[in-house]
Point group: C2
Chain length 513, copies 2
């Protein structure tokens, strides 16, 4: 058995069922092995940024890793941005990268590059499989490393001659390390801090599911603490009947304000909050000076158990889910914009929807209005590397074929990885993409204004605006096999969204405002 087949068999035995790829010559033995081994579904993407973002979306929804299959340093380079987002989401990813044969490595051939060096900044685990005899066990180790917890990018570099050489067969799966349990001492300290106040709980990671949210709400209500989640989270369960939580604001001024009165901040599966960017004369740390930081559980630890123990310590019992009727927004009318788009989504989002949100400047108007929609999951831009939205939606749809996926996408950020639409069409994925066509890098205009440049000159304007020429997203989507429609009033958008959600398969709506 050649190395490629032993590796594929090992991955399948370790529970990896999906291989997202854009392969090259060095990966052809792996590709050929896919036809000899049942259980691994290959999905082609036309660009590696789609591969990486889809692996992230799959991991967030499936709770386990997909494999990527990338072509040497440049293929990995194209995946870096969305691997960065996956790293910040703590998503498990088995990141397979082909490389030149070991025998070929000394010769500086055109495609030679230092693959391990390119992988290191985004990977929690990197191994180059240099002996055929170790390849299968390296594969099993990569899957275990990806699982963590917390999840991480496990990069396995596979030289072509290690893949093509004959040798031992597959290895069995390695056991996963369980998430660590909460420390009783930490639970007592956090409970005391909440009782003393003024305090807040800050949640992220696996705490952001229905049960964790119920417990966190109960603990906050019993102690008068505030309750926040991170600004950007891998996955947040929300909607009617799901206990609510407020993300920390994006810009430092309102975030500082939100935390300004605190003497205690309790972290549940996240880090101490920091500003997204630094600004002159603004602090990086968002908790006020003197605020004590308490860790209930670290990222990747058992957040549910931690919150349960906290409730026990506080002697509180989570309230049963609310059965009160919550009123979603009415269908909007008139001018189209983030506010009316949010109202349509709030009214039409189906139960079990998965929302991949890369709407950037539009998010502030959209997010609150979907609060009362039927229960759904919200996936955020975790690492700030744009081009995540459509790939993430692609991977989420591969993980959850029975659920409707909605992608909220800026027109600027969408252009980074528009190739996602082709994979959505090929795999008949149930994704409705909404492109917020404001024809600018809106967030950068805001940032420039924050520098005091209220009236940018022509050169600055030229790199913030994308209106000349106008991007025709309907043509772009159709060019990749995705049916698309344009809407320019609130009524039009509402009707088009309703129709798109009613029909299975991929759709794109260009919302022009």
């Amino acid at each position: 058995m050649n190395g490629a087949e032993a590796l594929v068999r090992t991955l399948v035995q370790s529970g990896v069922e999906l291989c997202l790829t854009n392969p090259g010559t060095s990966e052809m033995h792996f590709v050929a092995a896919l036809d000899r081994v049942p259980g691994m579904r290959p999905v082609l993407a036309l660009f590696e940024g789609v591969v990486a973002g889809a692996a992230d979306g799959y991991a967030r929804m499936a709770g386990k890793p997909a494999a990527t299959l990338l072509h040497l340093g440049p293929g990995l380079g194209n995946a870096i941005a969305n691997l960065h987002n996956a790293r910040k989401a703590r998503s498990p990813v088995v990141n397979l990268v082909g490389d030149h044969a070991l025998s070929h490595a000394p010769y500086d051939a055109p495609l030679s590059s230092d693959v391990a060096a390119i992988a290191a900044p985004v990977s929690g685990w990197v191994r180059r499989s240099e002996r055929r005899a170790d390849l299968a066990s390296d594969g099993a180790a990569a899957v275990a490393a990806a699982h963590g917890p917390p999840g991480q990018i496990a990069t396995l570099i596979v030289p072509a001659d290690v893949a093509w050489s004959d040798g031992p067969g597959p290895e069995a799966a390695l056991a996963h390390r369980p998430p660590s349990a909460p420390e009783p001492e930490a639970v007592r300290a956090c409970a005391a801090a909440l009782r003393e106040g003024p305090a807040a709980l800050l949640l992220s990671g696996s705490a952001l599911r229905r049960e964790g949210l119920a417990r966190a709400n109960a603990a906050a209500a019993a102690t008068g603490a505030k309750l926040f989640c991170d600004t950007f989270n891998a996955r947040l369960e929300r909607g009617a009947g799901v206990p609510p939580i407020t993300p920390l604001p994006y810009f430092p001024e309102p975030a500082l304000e939100a935390l300004s009165q605190l003497r205690h901040l309790v972290l549940v599966g996240t880090q101490s909050p920091v500003a997204f960017f630094a600004y002159p004369e603004r602090p990086s740390e968002l908790a006020p000076p003197g605020c004590a930081i308490h860790v209930l559980v670290e990222p990747g630890a058992d957040a549910d158990a931690g919150l349960e123990a906290l409730c026990d310590e506080l002697g509180v019992v989570p309230a049963p889910p609310s059965t009160a009727e919550e009123t979603p927004p009415s269908p909007p009318t008139g001018r189209l914009g983030p506010r009316s788009i949010g109202a349509s989504l709030g009214a039409l989002l189906p139960e079990g929807a998965i929302v991949s949100d890369e709407s950037i400047t539009a998010a502030a108007a959209v997010f609150p209005q979907t609060r009362c929609a039927p229960p759904h999951d919200w996936l955020f831009l975790t690492g700030g590397a744009i081009g995540q939205g459509m790939p993430l939606a692609t991977g989420a749809a591969l993980a959850c074929p029975e659920r409707k996926v909605v992608c909220l996408e800026g027109d600027g950020s969408g252009m980074y990885t528009l190739q996602s639409l082709w994979t959505q069409a090929r795999e008949s994925l149930d994704v409705t993409s909404i492109v917020f066509a404001n024809r600018s890098y809106g967030i950068l205009a805001v940032e420039l204004a924050r520098l005091g440049v209220a009236e940018p000159g022509p050169r600055a304007r030229s790199v913030l605006s994308i209106e000349r020429p106008v991007l025709d997203w309907v043509a772009l989507a159709r060019g990749m096999g995705v049916p698309a429609r344009r809407a320019s009033t609130a009524e039009e958008f509402h009707a088009v969204l309703r129709a798109s959600l009613a029909e299975p398969g991929p759709h794109l709506i260009e919302a022009v405002y």
Copy 2:
């Protein structure tokens, strides 16, 4: 003066006139400075792979660096593949990457990553400007480092607070290091090797202009040596009246055959030839065992002076340019394919054209047929990282607005960086893109067959074919503001190519076969 303005002024004084960018928040001070400093033209691309490839194309044609402006680790990551190609082309690039403020670096904010580590594998020079007082001199050093020779990627990382802080003004340009002169001893040894034979000259880099080719042809003719250039070259001057040269074949078998009888190989501005990929039972080195390797000049050295000295040593004088009428191909008829497309190009390519060639499997049929077209420059895929063709064409057109640029692009590789078309439309660049729509990763089908997999199974086929769904390149181009037409017979293609070349501005032709 803030650091950003001091840096922009320094770059302009150092001869950098073009800034290719997709900026973010950390780069806003630089963007604002562009409006205060004359002499730096900003050109926006919708994806950093376009930025990097355009910087490469500009450098190959302008002979000097453009600046990039990229946003932290993920923006740099998106540029890695085309920076890899630029590195292999030895193109000078001033690669500016914004980073978090130094004060913000300790906090692991969402966009934090190790920018220097991501940059190192593609850069010949990396510096992080950590003191405001050094920023301008770091900028001048980056330009000098980019120039080399040989040209290289000089990455300057600019923390946001270094850019926004006040401090000293710009620095003067640093002198460029001249290319090193040929060593008389090396010239004598190469001349003796050519006389002794059987020998060949292998050229790349700056030797591939009219004068160098004339001298190399004279030296080869006088000694009976064979004459080759690398398979992939940054820039090759060719066409009617330009002394010809044959690239080494891509696959190792014909390349080994071409060099099989040699006892001496003389290198002019290149490395000893190696196979692009390794294959089982095939050597990596292409020169036969026992063949002596002689270096006339290293990459980046003065190849013209080396070839002149070689001719002097051999006592030969280059022949005057041929004035014989060479017959370009006739307009083709019938079935459309690489052969007929090549014939149309050979018949229609205008004098001074610049051809960016990423036609992959089609190149073997196209390249020879353009041999007798009027003099033109041919730019190759130097590093094997696909997605180079359209960005490179974009940069070449920015460098040479008075010349016609033709981009030969595979449909698979074109999808990597199709965002280039938008920049071509915005800047009204005179680029005609020809998409070879064979609807497959044709080269991978060849590679799979070389493994002995003549009939790939359904899973392997699914990752080699891109025909389901069909990509509509006419829609994709129009979606980005580029007029486009489809051709599916040789006559149609010929007419459409003639019309596209006759009309200034960007065009795309989807050649379906």
